[in-house]
Symmetry: C2
Subunit: 396 residues, 2 copies
Amino acid sequence: MYVFLPAAPHVRLLRLLRDQGPVSRAELGDRLELSRPRLLAEVERLVAAELIVEAGMAASRGGRRSTLVELDPRLRFAAVDLGATSIDVELTNGRLEPIAAYREPADIRSGPRATLQRVNDLLAKARIDGVYDRLNGVGIGVPGPVSFRDGVPVSPPIMPGWDRYPVRELLTREYGCPAVVDNDVNIMAIGERHGGVAHSVDDFLFVKIGTGVGCGIHLAGGVFRGVDGCAGDIGHIQVEAHGPACSCGNTGCLEALFGGAALARDAMAAARSGESPALAARLGSSTTTTLTARDVADGAAEGDITCIRLIRDGGRRVGSVLATLVSFANPSMIVIGGGLANLGHVLLAEIRSVVYRRSLPLATGNLPVVLSELGSRAGVTGAAVLASDAVFEQAS
Amino acid sequence: MYVFLPAAPHVRLLRLLRDQGPVSRAELGDRLELSRPRLLAEVERLVAAELIVEAGMAASRGGRRSTLVELDPRLRFAAVDLGATSIDVELTNGRLEPIAAYREPADIRSGPRATLQRVNDLLAKARIDGVYDRLNGVGIGVPGPVSFRDGVPVSPPIMPGWDRYPVRELLTREYGCPAVVDNDVNIMAIGERHGGVAHSVDDFLFVKIGTGVGCGIHLAGGVFRGVDGCAGDIGHIQVEAHGPACSCGNTGCLEALFGGAALARDAMAAARSGESPALAARLGSSTTTTLTARDVADGAAEGDITCIRLIRDGGRRVGSVLATLVSFANPSMIVIGGGLANLGHVLLAEIRSVVYRRSLPLATGNLPVVLSELGSRAGVTGAAVLASDAVFEQAS
């Protein structure tokens, strides 16, 4: 059986307080199976490290009342989700509850210096806003493959200048605290498992359909990253041998056929040809000269047949790839997230239809295919989880 | 990081002796990081359990000479590989070296009673032959999904009558020793990692191309079986929307296009139409009325263009599925095994070509695609590994 390396007692203690809030010493001893002297020593050490505080007395369990323990209310984690075209920053307390959130457009192709400077500016703003005095940990997701061990992006196709850029090292130095770097889809999967629809599910796939397409693989309670850190990079799986050219140099990749960029391209074509009255009207009336997935979603909601067809075609293609992955990995849940998850039920219905029809019956007998609950917050939530885990593990 | 649950000291001790042969007490203490009294107690207990023996003195390491310890030479494991049309049985000693091997044709569709009776007959023959007095453990692989935890096949498509048949329980009762049941491709992957080309490789895919097609997924040092035990069942992934009908009820499955059964069908068609002179000659001269993958391999070796094309077409289809799985799982090696691995270099070259061209460059930069070293022995080798692990774990 696969498991994560059993965490040290102090890590389990801190995670318990993070995920459940204040707990009495007596219950902590029971839950962690620690002797009373051992527990007291751990608590004393973590109080001294300013990670936890004692917080009054718990309700009686029949005998003597026990002291409550909780995470230090001054704990602050910074969670950063770098997308292809945006930066999301969330500041949380120790329990990962958001205290402040910032979002702004940004082009990842502007390179690591400029992008990380924007991140630093947002975090400086948060400090000025009084959100934190000092940060305890930073978690950041980037839209490309990452060497999790080294804390650097590796050969990221859409991130020129980022290859092996020392992201973790620079953040650690800047904020004087542990930092952790992961792929953007992996942090979404971790977030969804922490506080979303995959709560406490051990084996699931998180499929992000945004500008591009990717997959977070959550197995046996943790993210599986592959030998080179690029496991789950499903956007460049070929689904049509003679399909459109992809930015990667191949043809017919999933991402070249569906995803935010492909859908915008197809929407423009359908508007210009007049095939879609809804899209043509939008393009004519718009103050901008482009269409996005949002326009297709709105068109579909109005009953525009071409818009519905575009979504269904996309769902069929995503579904065909997922059917393969379900036969291969036999997960217990599939979560659909990312910007295009907003296309809603039409998309989901088509994906489900193909997966249920094409995968092994044994693997789909009890397989929910559901939308992300956290939506655009999945990434920062997962980044905060990773940041807190790193802080807890280094508190030895 | 993923790991197997850390094994207990006695399990690590027994595995060390299995994999490396006799080891001195002093070295055992060092390797297992056990204190001298703790080690002596473990050794004494395992000698009493008739699992190990003391075997003379080791060469001096400078100080006092240390006693050698090795697995009891009377240890015997039975390893069984049930195929769709064959039974392979191997009897091994504690170090998993084969002592006797038996192979006979058998139809898995004859059901569990008849098939397991044949297994029992072969094992009875081995006992009469003097191969063993009693068995210490039995490992068996079956050609279908298995609940590893329960020791039963689950909804196996080509094994009528076997669904949830208590294979492990019956073997345990029959031989009075631990038994273990797994999928046939999983045991091949385990075997190849123990004694083949994937020796000590943690993350690899073992692709079996036999009558059907399947994949053993070896991650972080262990087989990943999926939620329902059917992970790796890649034979029914659709590779051609309008391809031939498959036994599973769908169309265009990988297995319906390539694999022993599909290749035999295509060979017959090519012989009858006269498209392949080599195959037509074989069919005309043969005492039987059927062609097999072997005939296609021989035809290809003679330069028959149709035979080469059949193999290449198959390789391309397998390669297209593997390209998807490589992008998804980012493994560090792919091993090709099963009967059709005998098609050799033409097949391998085509698979490699598609995988290297179609997968993510980062995932293929350092990805060997190689043939199984153990060939038809991969399955029984893995079954013996599983049997020994089960025995070692139960020796507490």
